[in-house]
């Protein structure tokens, strides 16, 4: 799992080189992820644009048999209440610890932004939606992969229940640790994009993102945010600041 850190030297190196081109591309529209004058981000933007224009829609990721399930490392944050972990958030850590001690019965997922009915959902609320169980491959950007069974509610169902507005373009996820991720509506409405509360037939284990994690089967692993606390639907691109991908040196669109 990628580490969250500010990569100032690298950005400084490429910013001067690429500022002209970045301005040109970035100024086109806030509906596309901007490049921030970063030459590396131009390749990612090209990949994103090519994928959205050229790839067929409605295809599902391969689903495997139960016997195909493999061992799977838990990487990145493995406990948001642990102050020694890289992405620890001093405000949310104690909140998470309290929720976990109570078996997450007080957990509430909030959905705000470009939705007609912003609100909160308990785990019981989420489990009342028709569930989807899928045995899929997790592809980590590090280079390894693993197969696991995930059970949860399709993100699409939750967004539709919240009354997603026609101008919604991006869905952003904020976790209990200092991690935030965003995906576009193509990935958000994909039938296999789920908010998972179960893994391999049991409740989502703590190191894998309890009580609720995102599964985006069309992207590499780091887009599948663990420990999701709140969802914000936006009508324009948001780089999510210091806890987002771009300012930590990572591609927003995780690539080819």
């Amino acid at each position: 799992m990628k580490a969250k850190q500010i990569v100032t030297t690298r950005r400084a190196l490429v910013t001067g080189l690429a500022s002209a081109g970045g301005l040109l591309l970035g100024a086109c529209s806030k509906q596309l992820p901007p490049t921030y004058g970063n030459v590396l981000r131009m390749g990612d933007l090209l990949t994103y644009t090519a994928h959205r224009f050229l790839l067929p829609r409605g295809r599902l990721a391969k689903e495997y048999a139960h016997g195909d399930i493999t061992s799977i490392p838990a990487v990145g944050t493995t406990n948001p209440a642990d102050s020694h972990q890289g992405a620890f958030n001093a405000d949310n850590g104690p909140i998470y610890e309290r929720l976990r001690a109570g078996g997450f019965s007080d957990y509430r997922l909030s959905i705000t932004g470009r939705v007609s009915r912003p609100g909160t959902y308990s785990l019981a609320d989420l489990k009342r939606f028709p569930a989807r169980t899928q045995i899929t491959k997790h592809t980590c950007e590090e280079g390894w992969s693993a197969i696991a069974e995930w059970t949860g509610v399709p993100l699409r169902s939750v967004l539709e229940a919240a009354g997603i507005q026609p101008n919604a373009r991006f869905v952003n996820f904020f976790a209990f640790d200092d991690i935030a991720e965003g995906i576009d509506m193509f990935d958000a409405l994909h039938p296999q994009t789920i908010l998972a509360y179960g893994m391999n037939g049991r409740n989502l284990p703590l190191p894998h993102g309890a009580p609720l994690r995102l599964r985006v089967e069309t992207q590499v692993g780091y887009k599948s945010t663990k420990y999701v606390q709140r969802i914000v639907v936006k009508d324009e691109f948001d780089d999510l600041g210091k806890i987002g991908d771009l300012q930590n040196g990572w591609a927003w669109y995780a690539g080819i």
């Binding site: 990628k2 580490a3 990569v7 690298r10 030459v39 590396l40 981000r41 131009m42 390749g43 990612d44 090209l46 990949t47 994928h51 790839l55 067929p56 295809r59 599902l60 990721a61 391969k62 495997y64 195909d68 399930i69 493999t70 061992s71 799977i72 490392p73 838990a74 990487v75 493995t78 890289g86 491959k137 592809t139 980590c140 950007e141 590090e142 280079g143 390894w144 992969s145 693993a146 197969i147 696991a148 893994m199 391999n200 037939g201 049991r202 284990p205 703590l206 190191p207 894998h208 089967e217 069309t218 992207q219 590499v220 930590n248 040196g249 990572w250 591609a251 995780a254 690539g255 080819i256």
Partner: protein, 278 residues
Amino acid sequence: MASGWLTGIVEVQAAGPVVAAADARPASGRSTADTPHGGHARWIRVSHWVVATSVITLAVSGFVILMAHPRLYWGATGNDLTPALVELPISRNYRHGGWDQSFAFFPQVHSPESASRTYEIFNDNGWGRSLHFLAGWFLALTGMVYLVAGVFTGHLRRHLLPGADERTARRAWEDFVSHVRLKFAPTTGGPPYGILQKWTYAGVVFLALPLMIVTGLAMSPAMTVAYPFLSGMFGGSQSARTIHFFVFAALILFLVVHVLMVVLSGFRRQMRAMTLGN
């Protein structure tokens, strides 16, 4: 670009039959009508250096990506908790121990398990991946232009593909022996190429580089969701990753020998032919 190797053999051997055979078949690549000055056409020079820069950038960024997880597997999946096909002794992540919070998912004896790291791994994939894909775009787009131009100008057929009379083990062996003896022709700075040279360039252009692009795409979740055959044809994304690595190693070997041959056959002449085109 140690060009004129075929001519070299002919001159070194100073033998009639080979000259006659080659002269009798202009299609085998002895015609230099399209390169009157002995250098390379402009589109070849431009694409050569764009591809060369892309490949070197891809090699460096690819190595950085590999350092984050220097283990190779066969099949659909593989990770630190499953057996590796190859473990590469690069980066501090090589055989790095230290796992805790481990637990089994199922009650059976050899159940899949989970574990968390107790250490910070080397991982520069943030810029490594983005640079890799940026260079990949340059390689793929330039490669497509090169192939289309190569077909329409006849460059691929006349200069790269070995002619019918050249596709014999005996001719390849003769060329091999002359290479081992370091017998090189006076450099012309362009085609016609020798037999081994043609096989090598054709292998890079038609096999190795396309295979790198396809095995690269076979690792992408977005691409394999859209086109499952991409990973399926290699037996899984991890198999594709392993092939990607070994073809990378072959291309590095090619790069070393290629540069060595340029030096041995006349560095200044060859570089002028591939830059100024004369």
